[in-house]
């Protein structure tokens, strides 16, 4: 790198060949005001705030942002002419700019405002400019354009044209009035905008803003800008792997996912999709089908290249026991084994996987695929002891340096309902476990009528499993149909399978005689709410009816089944007390995580709990606690996204679903996933929100040493 020596305001400065005067000065912590230039963009030289005098040519200012630094150059950044030109330029910009800074969303976060301060300029000497083109194109999804605040620096135009290659924004004229607009003044969505947000990012004023509510405000900015990743409890780098899917690099995509979790395939089937709820594209039309893309990547990964860089630390000689082979326990075991510890997982069930094996039905998650991911964990050196209940953690601890309790929330809750004592009732957890491990339950037989109480995903699992065991099935829930907690597709598919949904009904009693249930008595719900944690239901008098039933299934919540005999101090809800706020329990060396600590949560929450616990335990055992892995070298994604025809209009790809007739009597997989062309299309829909973080932040004058 060729270096140049120059003098700026009598300060010797070393610059790099090719740098502009502005770049050289800023790098040397010498401030030169500038507004239209931006570190990621070609200089335009339009605002004239960066004028300086070079080599004693007094009174002949040049723009520092587009004048190259030369060896031996002397630069003066302040002089009467320079000051005059800067002030005048500011005054001109302000003549057409609203005076009400305080009502602007960029207030105190605005480069223009900061420059007004630095140059102590106002627009009062100038004639006020009334602009009429500011009303053009103000209604767009995701981006608010308050063009009365625009000072036409052209950064947005350059970022859209030069950096993104989208070329939507242009300098336009309405009669003699210049403004920033689109071809034919079309709305952004119709003009080819890819909603990358780069224009918002580089705008130095409040003219371009992200729509309120698109990004969370309670997170550091770089995180909030990528909402899917921010919402994912594991913070999987979603835009990165979505882009890799687009490039057909499925093995690489899986490596990215595996940096954060060891169950990519299971999650590809059943993840609760926090990410999609955050997806920025939702406000344009529909969220990216992230879960389907993840599954697609796993199923098309021919290389398994993540294995090459998978971290395995040397043996520490420490022994760890994990109780519970669910997502949390297995995740913790996996990372602990990779951290060099000897890990044994104990589970009372005949199969590993926790709720993935015992709860989620096989038609949603094929067992062979689950087993493959469990095997991968075992290959990392984790010993898994099945059919092995642990009665007392204290005794177990004697043989281990650390123990993790990850027993989940495995016992179903039933709500107090008169007639429960008649028998013929079971919890959804019991039903699902029996169906999963035995292929049947003692109660449900073909021809019986099963009524499931509850409206969440577990209720629908229970209902659809009962259907597959030959029963005729009802679901009763308190919520109105459109407010039910289960996923939309679960409800729809259940109905297609002939399951009757009684929404907006409260259960009054189970009717019948001992050993023989006749039905569930219900009443219509007018409204319900929670007061201090207690459910208060307003019913509609006179609407009582009995829904004929032989068997009643309670899908009304789950809890841990830990008792004091287990040896841990429990709180009043039955969860282990965690005195430190981390994962360590009342017993030295014993940790707890997952549903056993948090109550029923999603699979991904369990995995995240398992990672956190693994890190804490590794630390406890003398390790660094660092379980992070780099399974794929960081690529440098191209900021140049170019154009895609009808980008804004592209609709979400829907997975193909096995027909109701074919699926309702068997445990065959229902969701067949998306095709290769769908994956291609779907990954292309992504707004690549992460690219925005490539854009540099402009430092304001007050942070420079010489100003």
């Amino acid at each position: 790198m060729e270096t140049l020596n120059m003098v700026i305001d009598h300060i010797p400065v070393t610059a790099v060949a090719g740098q502009t005067i502005l770049e050289a000065a800023l790098a040397a912590d010498i401030y030169i005001p500038h507004l239209c230039s931006h570190p990621n963009l070609h200089p335009q030289g339009g605002c004239k705030l960066c004028v300086v005098e070079v080599d004693g040519k007094d009174g002949l200012p040049v723009t520092a942002c587009n004048t190259e630094a030369r060896d031996g150059m002397t630069v003066i950044t302040k002089s009467p002419v320079i000051d005059k030109m800067r002030s005048l330029s500011m005054e001109l910009m302000l003549a057409g700019h609203p005076h009400d800074c305080t009502s602007c969303r960029s207030y105190l976060n605005c480069e223009l405002q900061s420059l007004m301060q630095y140059l102590s300029a106002t627009g009062v000497r100038m004639r006020e400019v009334h602009r009429t083109a500011i009303g053009i194109n103000t209604k767009n999804p995701l981006i608010d354009r308050e063009m009365e605040r625009c000072i036409q620096c052209g950064r947005c135009v350059r970022v859209c044209q030069d950096l993104r290659g989208v070329n939507v924004l242009k300098y336009k004229k309405k009669d003699a009035e210049a403004y920033i607009g689109t071809e034919e003044d079309l709305p952004l969505a119709d003009s080819g905008c890819r909603f990358c947000g780069a224009c918002v990012e580089v705008c130095p004023t409040g003219a371009l803003q992200d729509r309120e509510g698109v990004f969370r405000k309670d997170l550091p900015r770089e995180q909030s800008l990528i909402p899917c990743q921010a919402e994912c409890p594991a913070h999987t780098d979603i835009p990165r792997y979505v882009r890799l899917v687009k490039e057909g690099r499925y093995g690489e995509a899986v490596a990215v996912i595996r940096e954060k979790l060891p169950f990519p395939h299971a999650l590809g089937y059943v993840c609760t999709r926090y990410c999609e709820k955050g997806c920025k594209r939702t406000d344009l039309n529909e969220a990216i089908a992230i879960r389907d893309l993840k599954r697609f990547a796993v199923e098309n990964d021919k290389t398994e290249l993540w294995k090459a860089r998978s971290k395995q630390k040397p043996s520490t000689g420490k022994k760890v026991a994990v109780i519970g082979a669910g997502p949390c326990g297995l995740t913790a075991a996996y990372y602990l084994a990779k951290s060099g510890h000897e890990v044994t997982v104990f589970d009372r069930n005949p199969k590993a996987g926790g709720m993935l094996a015992a709860g989620i039905p096989a038609y949603r998650l094929p067992r062979a695929d689950l087993q493959k991911e469990v095997d991968t964990i075992a290959e990392a050196g984790v010993k898994i002891e099945l059919n092995h209940p642990i009665e007392n953690v204290g005794e177990l601890k004697q043989d281990y340096d650390a123990v993790l309790v990850a027993v989940g929330a495995q016992s179903g809750k039933s709500i107090p309902l008169s007639g429960y004592e008649l028998g013929c009732s079971l919890t959804a957890v019991e039903l699902l476990r029996a169906a999963a491990f035995d292929g049947k339950t003692s109660l449900i037989e073909p021809g019986k009528i099963v009524t499931v109480l509850g409206g969440g995903n577990v209720a629908f699992d229970a209902a659809r499993v009962s259907r597959r065991l030959g029963a005729s099935v009802n679901v009763i829930c308190l919520e109105a149909k459109d407010k039910m907690l289960a996923d939309r597709e679960e409800i729809q598919q259940a109905e297609e399978e002939g399951i009757r949904i009684y929404a907006g009904k409260a259960n009054l009693s189970i009717e019948g005689s001992p050993g023989k249930v006749e039905g569930v008595k219900v009443i219509d719900v007018d409204s319900f709410r929670f007061e201090e944690g207690k459910l208060v239901v307003n019913t509609v008098p006179g609407t009582e009816s009995v829904i004929p039933s032989d068997i009643v299934v309670f899908a009304t919540g789950q809890k841990t089944d830990l008792t004091s005999e287990f040896g841990l101090e429990l709180n009043k809800f039955g969860y282990p007390v965690l005195p430190s706020g981390g994962h360590s329990t009342s017993l030295e060396g014993v940790f707890a995580a997952g549903d056993a600590v948090t109550g029923t949560k999603a699979v991904i929450d369990g995995i995240v709990g398992g990672r956190a616990a693994a890190s804490e335990i590794d630390h406890y055992l003398g390790g660094s606690g660092d379980i992070s892995e780099v399974l794929l070298e960081k690529e440098n994604p191209s900021p140049y996204i170019g154009t895609i025809e009808d980008f804004a209009q592209k609709v979400r790809s829907e997975a193909s679903i096995l027909g109701a007739e074919e699926r309702q009597d068997s445990f065959r997989l229902v969701d067949l996933g998306i095709s290769c062309s769908q994956a291609d299309c779907e990954s292309e829909r992504c707004l690549q929100c992460d690219l925005r973080n490539q854009l540099k932040k402009v430092r304001l004058w007050n942070s420079y040493q010489y100003k």
Binding site: L88, R125, V129, Y171, K173, A176, Y179
Partner: protein, 216 residues
């Protein structure tokens, strides 16, 4: 330094028009047209060109309509000086140079507009009045029918009289009058009847008189 703009000055008049000024052109009005053309032509990328020329245009326009302010000429000079110094293209440079040159070459005329409310070429609408030469008017009444604001009083056979409070200086009457009886007047006003009188009955001809409230 790279140039951001390749706009040329071909939409603008040539410098020699400033020096070889015909009596019927007003330098202020001429400069207003220069600024107006430049403002239409500007690409919009540079602040001084885009907003500076626009500001020049707004100020000159104000001067031509009696809305000029103290200090306007100094501000115009400062603007054109800076635009010239910073010019990225021929368009803005030439515009600034033309304005600057006009300001110095015709400073008397600029001052007359701003401080004495005079336009010696009788071009700037705020600074002249419209009259009917009583010795020429034939009382044909064509002017009254063409005036969109009904500022001309008179009937067939009467000498017509213009109400300058109403008149918008649109010039339609000048074009239609077959006798070429319409006149513009600056400080010096022709003697005209107060209200329409019979053609031929006003014989005193055009004479100087003080305009009420005027300076001469």
């Amino acid at each position: 330094m790279m140039s951001i703009c390749e706009k040329t000055g071909t939409v603008l008049p040539e410098m020699n028009e400033i020096f070889n000024r015909a009596d019927e052109t007003c330098p202020v009005d001429w400069a207003l047209n220069v600024a107006a053309s430049a403002r239409l032509e500007s690409c919009g990328k540079g602040t001084l060109c885009r907003d500076g020329i626009n500001q020049i245009w707004q100020i000159i326009r104000d001067i031509t309509i009696d809305k000029g302010k103290n200090g306007d000429l100094e501000l115009l000079k400062e603007l054109s000086d800076m635009i010239l110094l910073a010019a990225d293209c021929e368009l803005s440079g030439k515009t600034a140079l033309l304005i600057q040159t006009s300001l110095s070459t015709h400073s008397d005329e600029w001052n007359a507009h701003l401080t004495r409310k005079r336009c010696s070429a009788l071009v700037c609408a705020a600074y002249y009045t419209v009259h009917v030469d009583p010795s020429k008017c034939s009382g044909c009444n064509q002017c009254a029918s063409v005036c969109s604001v009904k500022s001309i009083a008179g009937e067939q056979g009467l000498i017509h009289v213009v109400d300058n409070e109403l008149c918008t200086r649109c010039g339609a009457c000048f074009d239609i009058c077959p006798e070429h009886a319409f006149l513009k007047a600056g400080a010096m006003k022709p003697r005209c009847p107060e209200s329409p009188i019979a053609v031929g009955s006003f014989s005193e001809g055009v004479r100087r008189r003080r305009r009420p409230g005027g300076e001469e």
